[in-house]
Amino acid sequence: MTGCAGCQMEFLRLEDELLDLLKNVEISYFVMAKRVNLEGPYDAAFIEGSISTPRELNELRELREKSKILIAFGDCACTGCIPSILNWVPPAVSAKVYEDFSAIHSKKESFQRIIPLKEFVKVDIELRGCPPHKNLILEVVKSALIQRKPFLRIHPVCIECKLKENVCLLTFEGRPCMGPVTAAGCGALCPSLNRICEGCYGPMSDANAKSLAETFLNKCGLSKDDIARKFRKYSGLTSALFEEANKSYEY
């Protein structure tokens, strides 16, 4: 579907585990990695990307029919991720950037929007991340094999960050870190490298966007536009961040 295929790459990054994995799992369809692909039905389908054209929607519905377990694989599939910024870009802007829409399917066809999978079909598991960490992918595969709910912690990045004993970038440096509203899973990758969290795992289980927006405003000196852009960068469509972003900024 519509995405950058980075999540598929992450699957291939399972180098060390891949051979062990293949003892229990048969990969039927994976165009990026396989020459011969089978048309299903499937026990589990990892679907990457969001929906931006009617063709993709038909394909998604077909896959739902064919698959016992449907896994929204990565942020695009779960929340719309970076492509979802499109939803707030006024048509006039696109017209300035692209003189000719003929090669851009999502612009040419009727959608003109980026929409996550669960808006159309039943999603069994949301595997978050841009891309999801390979350990999370393994957790989902193993859980599917033994028919158990996967243990995907969607508590905030702050937990992983604190466990690494990082100096809190928001508290001590006044930098607009999205950690407090963002789901963990990455191991606090960015804050550990002295970069603020950008929010790429989507909202955490109990995100207090309102309070964080206020903190950004008062403590980090961000404008309301900046806050809206931060909240919309990865998961502006999610109920946790949608309202706050809209309140802060309107086209």
Binding site: H155, P156, C158, L163, T171, K210, S211
Partner: protein, 366 residues
């Protein structure tokens, strides 16, 4: 008790002698803050530190530890193994008192063998704090700035010298590692002065009298609801609390599905998933309820009779880490003050913005 006076250079000698035999953990600088970590050179130790990011409880209760390994036919328990004894060097009174409280949880009625093993392997060399940070309030909790018990050795910096007192047999042996002169009554006077001077530096305090009772009586105080609105539920306060000890136990399968490990890791009552049960039920779904749980456990039911693990002592030791690290500035001393009736809700710093907004809305509706 043996008491000696070391010159600053003696401390380095002493430290190097310790290094030969022990694994040493001490405060080190990390950006503008400090952390407890393994040290291999005295030059790395920051003895003028105020407080560390994470408390030293991480050496008694690891963030994540394997409990056992299993296969289809066999279960093998994992125990902590030590090549050397561990020394924690320069621990402040607040953290030392936190160890004593954790001992009550994990060594008294229901001893945790892993904890006991780690605790027995740990030698504590405490340090009288003379540099409390803005957020510290151990003095009013009766847990600092100098410890009265629980240490093997206690160092107190007096001008350019260190008074070193032993608190156990181990300490008495250790104190002989470096040459120092016998301490005189004058040195103890000096220590008293240092402690007095430090006490004057504290900016925050909690009046603990009746506090557990008052918390119990104020479970529906509007303060909790309002704090729930500003609180980010990021959990930093819980992880950085030296006495919070909640954990989760999980199984992890091998890829081949023929075995795996059972591990234990830190958990936090501030997280939504913490009180979740089967079918998505949750005892503390509201953030407000979780704020109350953390504050209540530290100031209330930690010292209340029906949860008698702490024998009436409060769970909070006044280290101030939760205040220091909170991105929205929630301050446990202000919470206590509101519950005690010394302050009203509108004086709580973290609430000022939302109260201002509510005021504005109310004004608009009129």
């Amino acid at each position: 008790m043996i008491a000696k006076v070391y010159k600053e250079s003696d401390i380095a000698t002493f430290f190097n002698k310790l290094l030969e035999e022990y694994n040493i953990i001490a405060p080190k600088k990390k950006k503008q803050l400090y952390e407890f970590n393994e040290v291999n050179d005295f030059g790395e130790v920051a003895l003028d530190y105020s407080t560390t990011i994470l408390p030293p409880k991480k050496y008694l209760i690891p963030q994540k530890e394997t409990l056992l390994r299993f296969t289809k036919n066999e279960i093998v328990s994992e125990e902590p193994q030590f090549k050397k004894k561990q020394v924690i060097f320069g621990i402040h009174a607040c953290d030392l008192n936190a160890f004593l409280l954790l001992d009550k949880v994990f060594m008294d009625k229901f001893p945790c063998p892993r904890y006991v093993k780690r605790r027995r392997n740990l030698i504590t060399i405490a340090l009288t704090c003379n540099n409390p940070s803005e957020t510290c309030f151990c003095e009013s909790m009766g847990t600092g700035p100098t410890p009265s018990k629980g240490y093997d050795l206690l160092l107190t910096k007096i001008n350019e010298e260190y008074l070193i007192e032993s608190g156990s047999e181990t300490g008495e042996k250790l104190v002989k590692l470096a040459k120092g002169k016998e301490a005189s009554p004058k040195d103890f006077e000096g220590k008293k002065k240092v402690v007095e001077l430090t006490k004057q530096k504290f900016k925050r305090r909690i009046d603990v009298r009746n506090l557990p009772d008052l918390i119990q009586k104020n479970l529906n105080h509007e303060l909790w609801r309002l704090l729930g609105e500003v609180d980010l539920a990021c959990g930093q306060c819980v992880l950085s609390c030296p006495t919070c000890y909640c954990f989760d136990v999980r199984d992890e399968l091998n890829l081949s599905l023929d075995g795996g490990t059972r591990y234990k890791e830190w958990d936090a009552c501030f997280l939504l998933e913490f009180a979740e049960v089967a079918l998505g039920g949750n005892f503390r779904r509201d953030r407000a309820a979780r704020v109350r749980q953390f504050m209540g456990h530290n100031l209330g039911w930690g010292g209340a009779s029906q949860y008698n693990v702490f024998n009436g002592e409060l769970k909070c030791v006044g280290c101030g880490r939760c205040i220091k690290t909170c991105p929205v500035g929630i301050d446990i001393t202000e919470v206590a003050a509101v519950i005690k009736g010394e302050k009203n809700v509108s004086q709580v710093t973290a609430l000022k913005n939302i109260l201002a907004n509510i005021g504005e809305k109310n004004a608009r509706s009129i």
